[in-house]
């Protein structure tokens, strides 16, 4: 399998505002820090991890919606920052983002149809209103918005959260992209509706070989449709591997804590157990050594001194932890 996307040593820092009087020492957030990975063609590569760990920023960097502080991103072997004007326009069509917040990703002053049509017109897809109407209607049906006429002429504020989210998905899909960064694309859908949207994604992959970077907090979804998954913690990838393997038998203490915190529907089992120390407050200062050490129950002196590297513990399954052992 060839790589569609290849990311090396990607880093993005944001300056932080801490108030008027702290101008003396500028602080930075390491939103994405020395991240490397590649995504195969036709793959569903998932990104999971703590809120604020840099998932959305990574996705935005991959689509050139944000400039990296350093590092390189290749799309089909080409550096996305050295595309010429024509190539860039083609890249803008071929690589789409489904944004995390559907409430702000559509233009509130335009109807659903006009919102979706905008992209079709820019990229000269379909000729005339009628043909575009048919394209859009079919796409709405494929995500369970039925009958499409009930939704096409509504304005975004007249739709429910899950309906909006599906309109956002459709806006990306109708452009016939090759690569989609889907940032929490089904977070507002019930299980049944989610089923039909996921099926649409899988069909695209099967029929058109579309590649996905799927960002999600839903570990069940990762297990059911993901090929590989990377776990992020404070800007770093701490574990990476085949989706089912990693969810069933995670190596990194953070991944273990995350997976054990997934609640079970059985009321007698109550909420998932939380296996990390300390409060959830993330701090601005990045500690020396392993970033998870302050909250890790296994941390020792080495962890607090030396930053662990990603190493392969079992076939294709990598972890950055001094204490992780295969078969744990």
């Amino acid at each position: 399998m060839s790589d569609l996307v290849r990311v090396s040593d990607l880093r993005k820092l944001f300056p932080v505002r801490t108030g008027l009087f702290s101008r003396s020492k500028r602080k930075y957030i390491y939103a994405v820090d020395e991240v490397s990975f590649s995504i195969h063609e036709g793959e569903i590569f998932c990104l999971v991890g703590e809120s604020g760990s840099g998932k959305t920023t990574t996705g935005r960097l991959l689509l050139r919606l944000e400039r990296p502080t350093s590092g390189e991103i290749l799309f089909e072997g080409k550096n996305i920052y050295s595309l010429d004007k024509k190539e860039l326009k083609e890249f803008r069509r071929r690589a789409q983002m489904i944004f995390q917040d559907p409430f702000s990703s559509l233009d509130p002053r335009m109807s659903v149809f006009d919102n979706i049509c905008e992209g079709l017109i820019i990229h000269k897809i379909g000729s005339g209103r009628e043909e575009r109407f048919n394209i859009v209607s079919k796409a709405l049906e494929s995500v369970g918005l039925y009958p499409p006429e009930n939704f096409l002429f509504k304005y975004p504020h007249e739709l429910s959260g899950g309906q909006l989210q599906r309109i956002a998905i459709v806006s990306a899909l109708v452009l016939g992209p090759k690569f989609i960064v889907a940032d929490e694309p089904v977070s507002m859908l019930d299980m049944s509706t989610r089923g039909s949207v996921v099926k649409t994604m899988l069909d695209l992959r099967r029929n058109m070989n579309v590649t996905f970077l799927l960002i999600t907090h839903d570990l069940g979804l990762v297990k059911y449709i993901g090929d590989r998954v990377a776990v992020m913690y404070l800007g770093k990838i701490v574990e990476k591997g085949p989706a089912e393997d990693l969810i069933d038998a995670p190596y990194h203490p953070y991944s273990q804590a995350l997976i054990s915190a997934v609640p079970s529907p059985d009321p007698n089992k109550k909420i998932g157990e939380v296996r990390v120390k300390g409060d959830i407050t993330m701090s601005l200062e990045v500690a020396k050594g392993c970033r998870f050490a302050p909250r890790c129950t296994l941390a020792n002196d080495k962890c607090r001194e030396e930053e662990p590297e990603l190493i392969e513990l079992s076939c294709g399954h990598y972890v950055a932890c001094h204490e992780a052992r295969a078969g744990n």
Partner: protein
């Protein structure tokens, strides 16, 4: 459970006017919440959950109309209060809400800290300094470093904005919190911590809450009672145990069946066959009949009434006598 409910919704009908008629988003709905109780509402996308929430907190769009019903809060009908009265006494102070898509409801040009402080100062008599302290405390409670209070919304991640809105909703110690997809943008560890926080407030400050979410494991693991909503109506409600271990309505049963268990084998995601109803023109009789595997003639013609299974468990289905679901 004490005698009088904290909130009681009676036969509420709230429709939206659109070209071609009325979208019957909330259509003859009953609901009750007791003091110190956490109630979960689940149902398909578009069935009217947010519409119900917006009706309770009274922030409806201009094309909406309330056709009938009562919303009794501490015995007083909220629908009869003037907007002024409701805003001064009730909204945020007594009943607060985390809107669905809350991450988009922050003001983009005001820092996160200032927004929380403004909300506090609008309702409480305290100095700006005290309000800042409270705001910082709230941010800490939802897991955000107070040092970042001076950030603007665009400098926060999706989940951080979401948590800022949760902090805002808790700022005035409300008695009822409506949480519409409150934790969907959060990872499961932070989600568990937020839910534990709400549970602590329930114990310490008698906070009642309505949890609306598609995350069934989350709702079931944090609620005392569950209401199942379908096409603008409640079709079944009961204690969490009753709904989980002995669902009676075919819709409830199919809904629960479509929930994947992360600890089980990899399998395909479940579906409920057929399209969700068009609320402009909902099906006659039982609204679930076009998709129900147990439909018989009466289901198409007559609307089923709520019948009693136990003191706390109620269901609206013509066929509960004949079908035993297992």
């Amino acid at each position: 459970m004490s005698a009088a409910p904290l909130l009681k919704v009676n036969n509420l009908k709230m429709y939206y006017s659109v070209e071609g008629g009325w979208v019957k988003a909330v259509d003859g709905l009953f609901l009750d919440i007791y003091r110190n109780e956490c109630v979960g509402i689940v149902g398909e996308s578009g069935c009217g959950k947010s519409s119900l929430a917006l009706t309770i907190i009274r922030v409806l769009p201009s094309n909406s109309k309330i056709f009938s019903g009562e919303i009794l809060f501490e015995g007083e009908n909220m629908l009869e209060l003037s907007e002024e009265d409701f805003r001064k006494r009730i909204r945020w102070k007594k009943i607060s809400i985390v809107f669905q898509g809350a991450m988009n409801s922050l003001n983009p040009v005001i820092t996160i800290g200032d927004q929380i402080v403004e909300t506090i100062l609008a309702h409480e008599n305290m100095s700006k300094k005290e309000a800042w302290e409270r705001a910082e405390n709230l941010l800490r409670l939802v897991g955000i470093d107070p040092k970042r209070a001076k950030s603007y919304p665009f400098e926060f991640s999706g989940g951080m904005k979401q948590r800022a809105m949760i902090a805002m909703a808790l700022a005035l110690n409300p008695s009822l919190l409506i949480a519409d997809e409150m934790t969907t943008a959060l990872d499961v560890i932070i989600q568990a911590q937020i839910i534990n926080l709400v549970a602590e407030l329930k114990r310490g400050l008698n906070l009642s809450s309505i949890i609306i979410s598609h995350d069934i494991p989350l709702v079931f693991s944090s609620s005392d009672r569950i209401f199942i909503m379908y096409a603008g109506k409640i079709v079944e409600h009961g204690s969490t145990e009753e709904i989980y271990y002995s669902p009676m309505h075919p819709y409830t049963f199919l809904l629960l069946d479509s929930v994947p268990d992360i600890r089980g084998k990899r399998r395909t995601l479940g579906f409920i066959e057929g399209a969700p109803p068009n609320l402009l023109d909902p099906p006659t009789g039982c609204r679930f009949h076009p998709r129900c595997p147990f439909t018989i003639d009466i289901c198409r013609k007559e609307e089923p009434e709520m019948s009693t299974v136990s003191f706390s468990h109620h269901v609206a289905c013509h066929r509960i006598e004949e079908i035993t679901l297992s």
